[in-house]
């Protein structure tokens, strides 16, 4: 695909950020509103896929130098690690903790370890989707 896709590439440059922000919103809002790690992961992967379509795999690789399989692994580690928190404190596996924490700059914040778990899901989904798309895309 060597035609000059000026329109596509320019639109992509703008839209990718919007999609990415939307996925961030879906991820963070997941506990209270529709969304969550899974959909957010898929949407982020969609944003990257759009750049893949507009440019090519080499360009995307130079922009985002991520080992997607490693990303999947890290996601799984997050999910598993969250579960281990409960084990360390003497509760059953995957017991989540939540509460209000007074952070230095932000101040009083409601935090929940389920978010870390969701982050794991998010990373796995992004990693998996990108692995599949990139692998098949590069196959011939």
């Amino acid at each position: 695909m060597k035609t000059n896709d000026v329109l596509l590439r320019n639109v992509t440059k703008v839209v990718v950020f919007i999609i990415f922000l939307f996925s961030l919103h879906l991820f963070l809002a997941g506990h209270y509103n529709p969304g969550g790690g899974f959909v957010a992961g898929l949407t982020s992967a969609g944003a990257i896929t759009l750049t893949l379509i507009a440019y090519d795999t080499q360009t995307v690789k130079s922009m985002l130098n991520i080992n997607t399989i490693m990303m999947t692994g890290v996601g799984l580690l997050f999910a598993l690690g969250t579960g281990m928190i409960g084990v360390i404190t003497g509760d059953p596996f995957l017991t989540h903790k939540f509460g209000h924490v007074d952070l230095p700059i932000i101040g009083d914040t409601a935090l929940h370890t389920a978010t870390i778990f969701d982050l794991g899901v998010y990373l796995v989904v992004v990693g998996v989707t990108l692995t599949i798309i990139q692998t098949i895309g590069e196959s011939d």
Binding site: G30, G75, G83, H96, I136, S139
Partner: protein
Amino acid sequence: MSFLHLAIFLPFLMAMLIPIFYRWTNQLHTGWIVLPIPVILFIYFLTFIPQTMQGVVTETMPWIPSLGINFTVVVDGLSLLFALLITGIGSLVTFYSIFYLGKKKERLNNFYAFLFIFMTAMLGVVLSDNLVVLYLFWEMTSISSFLLIGYWYHRERSRYGARKSLLITVFGGLMLLGGILLLHVITGSFSLREIIGEASVVQASSLFIPAMILILLGAFTKSAQVPFHVWLPDAMEAPTPVSAYLHSATMVKAGLYLVARFTPLFAVSGVWFWTISLVGIVTLFWGSITATKKQDLKAILAYSTISQLGMIMTLLGVGAAALHYDSWSDDIYIGALVAAVFHLFNHATFKGSLFMMVGIVDHETGTRDIKRLGGLMRIMPITATIAFIGTFAMAGLPPFNGFLSKEMFFQSMVDVTTLNLFNADTWGILLPVIAWVGSIFTFVYSMIIFFKTFGGKLKPHLLPKKPHEAPLGLLLPPLILSALVVITGLFPNLIAKPLLEPAVKSIMPSLYGTDYHVHISFWHGFTMALLMTFGVIILGILLYKTANWWRPFIKEKVPRFFQWGKAYDNSMYYMEQGSYRFTLWIMTGWLRTYLNYMLMAFIILMLGTIFATDALNFDISTISRVTMMDYVLALVIVVTLVGVVFSKSRITSIILLGAMGYTISIFFIVARAPDLALTQLVIETISVVLYLLVFYHLPQFSNIEEKPKWLSVKTLISFGVGLVVFLISLSAYDTTFYDSISQYYIDNTYTKAAGKNIVNVILVDFRGFDTLFETVVLAVASIGIFGMVKLRLARREKNENK
């Protein structure tokens, strides 16, 4: 653990040491090293005679006490008789084999190891009281006998014979195990004595007949009774010492032992009486007739063994009638049991000597074919004497022990006609008649063995070797056995009191404590039995003289009519062919066929269950209101579905599938499931893209678009599956049995998990464990795709570089 247990395992322990001795003693024949074991055991078992004349000796060793399985050894008259036969003839056979098997040519370590394992197994069978232990040793005899028959495993016939005997005896062994388990179910015990002690419970049980039949199957297969006798003639491929030991004196008598052991338990039944008597008499008859037509000396002896075992079996069957008499004084049927035990002993002695005699003839002339043999009397006088004693004892002629037991056999057969139990008065007359005819043929084949081998003219040109008398080592064991034949023939009461009487008492335990005594008289007047013996001799001589005239008839005409061996071979062939064809027919290798099987099984099982349990119900009051939106969406889905199924091109199907997916996500929106709708939308997009990718890469030749066929098995199955799932869904819709647990989640999502999106909270918090593994599933899938694509590429590159 007592010395008695050790005695049973002594040959087994020796078998473990044999390879060591074999390796380190090059000069000495291995047989000399192992010979002391059976001799010591024989002497050891002789010391039990005074004790068994009084009662029984019991020793217990716990094995699996929690299951009631203990290695209990009980020595009573019957066990002791068998133990003496096993160790006595075992010693003689070991001695004989030292001279029979060459030290250079044969793998003696294998031979003696197998033989001694067999000896342990056989001792275990006859001495065990626990039925599970008995079964263990029972299978051990089958396996060691299999190894011994296949000793010359480079011969095709040896392997065939070994396989045949193993299949048949293990079949019987498994039946026996079934019988044992049934007896355990009835009585809760594995101990033979305890089970016999509860005989009345067993006899009242509905499992009485099945248990009896299973145990009889075990006994009949082991003792080569019709129709399971086919393995024994083929087992003659074993070395002759093995034939002498296993297939005449010991293993084939294990079935008789079992029948005798279970007599106090089962003998009340007419089924037992008639089955054993009839099977025995048919075996006697068939075996003796078949023996007369055989050429090979060992084959004649094999069929004669079958026939003699049938005779003992008949006697045990008739002896079962004795259980119905409370007082032994007016009981003539106890005589049948005495005859059975006596003939069992006699048969072991003369058949052992005859097999050894055949081994000598084979060894010294190089053939066993009676057509080529003849006139050996001058050259091998001692062997001829042994053969004379053995064959005449087998034919039932005085003054040998076979005469006495045959007289007693005839007497018992005559007595059956006066029995007024089990309808014996109507059909009982069959037994003496068949027995008599069978005995005539017994006489004929005995004469054939002796006169065709030793009488007539010598045919030196037909013999592979120049015949000469055997060395003393080969002659000694059969001479000892022949001496026993003559001694017990002339002085039967020498063994009557110490051996036979305790044996009979252990078959009929009610005799203990009474003053019953076995007395065998040589002459008891002109009875019916004596007249029958005269008839046997006269007709036997006539038949022998005219043998050339009638033998071709049974040799060629009868086999055309029916052959047991053929039946076995054919059944094996058809079983193999049948299973092969069946597998070919059912395992087509096409996934669609297997899918058809699975779905058909699903339909049949589900419909069957629904109708069998009357599960079809649907309560209309619980359904919710259907809106216009639902109708529209359902219509769209049905339309896309029909399109997917009937579209001519694949790409249409893919697009329609995507459309259906999006419609379902709208369904989710309508049903107020925003998370599901979001995910469904994205996932549907990705999967449609992947479908298109696959479609794009389809190879050209398989890209021919085809229209699915109407009306086929597949259509029917599809409709069936749809209908069944529909019915199940309808029936399962009734949720009135249990309340939903969702109220808990609604109540606690915020208070306990600090969230408001109940779906997400369930996913990451309440049921986060599932989510964890779903992410693992995704990871595995992606790594799988990565691996498949990358490894394929790597392989292709390697091939291109070649």
